[in-house]
Symmetry: C2
Subunit: 316 residues, 2 copies
C-alpha cells in the first residue's frame, strides 16, 4: 500500500507516491498558475494523483489516502483551507472539490508542520519523542511534533513559530504585529540586512558578488561571503545568529524538545550556521547542567513536504 | 480512595487530602525552615501525610498516591529533584527519602505545571483539551496542558514560559539570559516600575499608599492605584499589560490553546487586568477571523498547587 503526498506551492504543485517506509517511489509536478483561483488548482492536484499512479503502474486501490501541505492554515476536521496569504485563498472547500475527482481520504495541514512530521518520522528527528522543525526561508515557519504526533493547536492555527515576539515594539511584521521572530531570523532578514551592509560597504564581497545591485542580493550571497570572512557579511551573519538563537532558546525553555532541526533556504549554510547557533546557545541556555535540545540541519530537504503530507493519514 | 497533594514552598509546606472529584477534604501545613536542608524537610512532608490521614480519619490503604509540586525542576522518572533555585536544592533524591517514611507511589513536578493541571481538571480550564496557566508572582511560571495531560518536555525542564525572550538584549534575567518575559511581566516587574514611578511622581497615589518608602511598594498597591486612576500607576499598568500581552500573543501563535488562565498574586487584580489584556490582545492577534484563546483569571487560587499535585498520579 501507498499514500500520496502533495506539496502545494505558489509556483509548483509537487506530488509523490510514498511507500510505508516513508520513501518517495515516484514524483510528478505541474505549475500552480495561481491566477486561476482555487478550483482549477485543486482539480489539477487531484489529476496529478492519477498521473502519478499511472506512471508508477499502481492501481487506485493501492493508494490508502492523500495528504496536502498547505502554505497557510487548513482545518483538517472540516476539510476547508481557512487562509493562505500567498495563494490569496480564504475558506476554500478543498476536500470536497478534490474528492470529486480523486475519491480518497484527504488530510491537510500547514506545510511547515508537515515537513516537521516528515523529519520526525523519516529524517533527522527520527526516534525523538518531541521535536521542532524550523523552515528559514522567505518567512519563518515551524512544525511541532509532540509525542510523535503533529501539534497544531486547538483551532489549527498554532505552530506559527515565526510570530513569537522577540522584540516588543520591534520591526513591523506582515501579521499586523511588531517584533515577530520572522522579521529577524528568516532568509528575508538576511537579504534586507545584506542590502544595508552593501550600501555601507561598497568594498564588501556582498557588493562584489551582487554587482552592487540591491536586487541581486540573496541570502546565499551574504552567507557565502560570511563564510569567506567578508567583514560586512560576518556582521550581518552574527546579528542573524543572535536573533535566530534567541528564538531557539525560547523554544527550548518552553518545549524542551530533544531536537530542533533547521530547514529552508538558509539551512543550506549547513555546519557553518549550526556551529554558530550551538556556540551562541551554550551561553544562553537556562539549565546548563541538564541535557538540552540538539540543533541540527534537517535531512530531507525539499522532499520533506511531500513525505510529511503523505504521512498525515497515520500521524495526524 | 484519596490522593494527597503537597505544595512545597519556601515558607510553608501545605498538604491536602483530595478526593476523586478533585476536592480538598482536609488540609494541613508546617513551616518549611529552609535552613535545615532537604532531608528533614522531606521527612516532614512524609509525616504531614500521616497527620493528614489521622486528622481525616482515613486509613493509609485509602491513599492511592502522593504528588509534590516543586518550586523548580523535578525528574519524575528518577524521583530526583534536579534543581530548585529558591530552596538551594541540587540533585536531591526526594522519592527515596520520602518513601522511607510514607511508602506510597510518589509523583513530582514543577509547581506551576501542577497548578496548570489542577485548573485543567477542576478549574477554569476544565473541558479544554489544550490550556496554558500563568502564575504572575515573584517570577512568571507556566503550566502547559496538552491533550489533557501535563507537558513538561523531554528532559523535564520545559514549560519555563517566563524565560521566553521578549526583548533581545533586554533586561538582565536571573537565568543568565537577557530580555526574558519574567523581567517585564511578573509581579516583581510591577514593583520595580512602581518604585521608579513613585520616585518620579511623589504626588502619586503609589507614593501616598507606600508612605513614600520604596520598600513598601507592592504589586497590589500599584494595581489598586491604577484601578483608582492614579496617572503614574496607570502608566506602569499599561506598560505591564503591553509586555504581558506580547508574551500571551506568542503563546497563542505557538500553542493555539483554548484558554490561557492567569494565577499568582498579580491575578488578584481580576477583571481589571483581564479586560486590559483582552483589549490589547484583540489588536495583536494574527488570525483575527479564527477563534483564539480566551484569557481568564484562574479559579482555584492557592489550592491549585495541592489539587494539581494530587492529580499527578492519574494525569502525568
Amino acid at each position: 500500500m501507498y499514500t500520496i503526498g502533495i506539496d502545494l506551492g505558489g509556483t509548483n504543485i509537487a506530488a509523490g507516491l510514498v511507500d510505508k517506509s516513508g520513501q518517495i517511489t515516484h514524483k510528478a509536478s505541474v505549475p500552480t498558475h495561481l491566477e486561476r483561483g482555487p478550483e482549477p488548482i485543486i482539480v489539477d492536484m487531484a489529476k496529478l494523483c492519477r498521473t502519478l499512479i499511472t506512471q508508477a503502474g499502481v492501481s487506485e486501490d493501492e493508494v490508502e489516502n492523500v495528504g496536502i501541505g498547505i502554505p497557510g492554515i487548513a482545518n483538517n476536521d472540516t476539510g476547508v483551507v481557512v487562509f493562505c496569504t500567498n495563494l490569496g485563498w480564504h475558506h476554500v472547500p478543498l476536500r470536497e472539490i478534490f474528492q470529486r475527482i480523486f475519491n480518497k481520504p484527504l488530510y491537510m495541514e500547514n506545510d511547515a508542520t508537515v515537513a516537521g512530521l516528515a523529519e520526525a518520522v523519516a529524517g533527522i528527528s527520527k526516534d525523538c519523542k518531541n521535536s521542532i522543525f524550523l523552515t528559514l526561508g522567505t518567512g519563518l515557519g515551524g512544525g511541532i511534533v509532540i509525542d510523535g504526533k503533529v501539534y497544531s493547536g486547538s483551532h489549527h492555527v498554532g505552530s506559527e513559530l515565526g510570530h513569537m515576539i522577540v522584540v516588543v515594539d520591534g520591526e513591523q511584521c506582515t501579521c499586523g504585529n511588531k517584533g515577530c521572530w520572522e522579521r529577524y531570523a528568516s532568509g528575508t532578514a538576511i537579504i534586507n540586512n545584506g542590502r544595508k551592509a552593501m550600501a555601507k560597504h561598497p568594498e564588501s564581497k556582498i557588493a562584489k558578488d551582487a554587482d552592487g545591485d540591491p536586487e541581486k542580493v540573496t541570502a546565499r550571497i551574504v552567507l557565502d561571503a560570511a563564510k569567506a570572512g567578508d567583514p560586512a557579511a560576518v556582521e550581518v551573519f552574527r546579528e542573524y545568529v543572535k536573533y535566530l538563537t534567541a528564538g531557539i532558546v525560547s523554544l527550548i525553555n518552553v518545549f524542551d524538545p530533544e531536537i530542533i532541526s533547521l530547514g529552508g533556504g538558509v539551512s543550506g549554510a549547513g555546519e557553518f550556521l549550526v556551529k554558530a547557533v550551538r556556540e551562541e546557545l551554550s551561553k544562553l541556555i537556562f539549565y546548563k547542567d541538564v541535557t538540552y535540545a540538539r540543533v541540527e540541519i534537517a535531512s530531507l530537504g525539499n522532499d520533506a513536504g511531500i513525505i510529511g503530507a503523505a504521512m498525515m493519514g497515520s500521524r495526524a
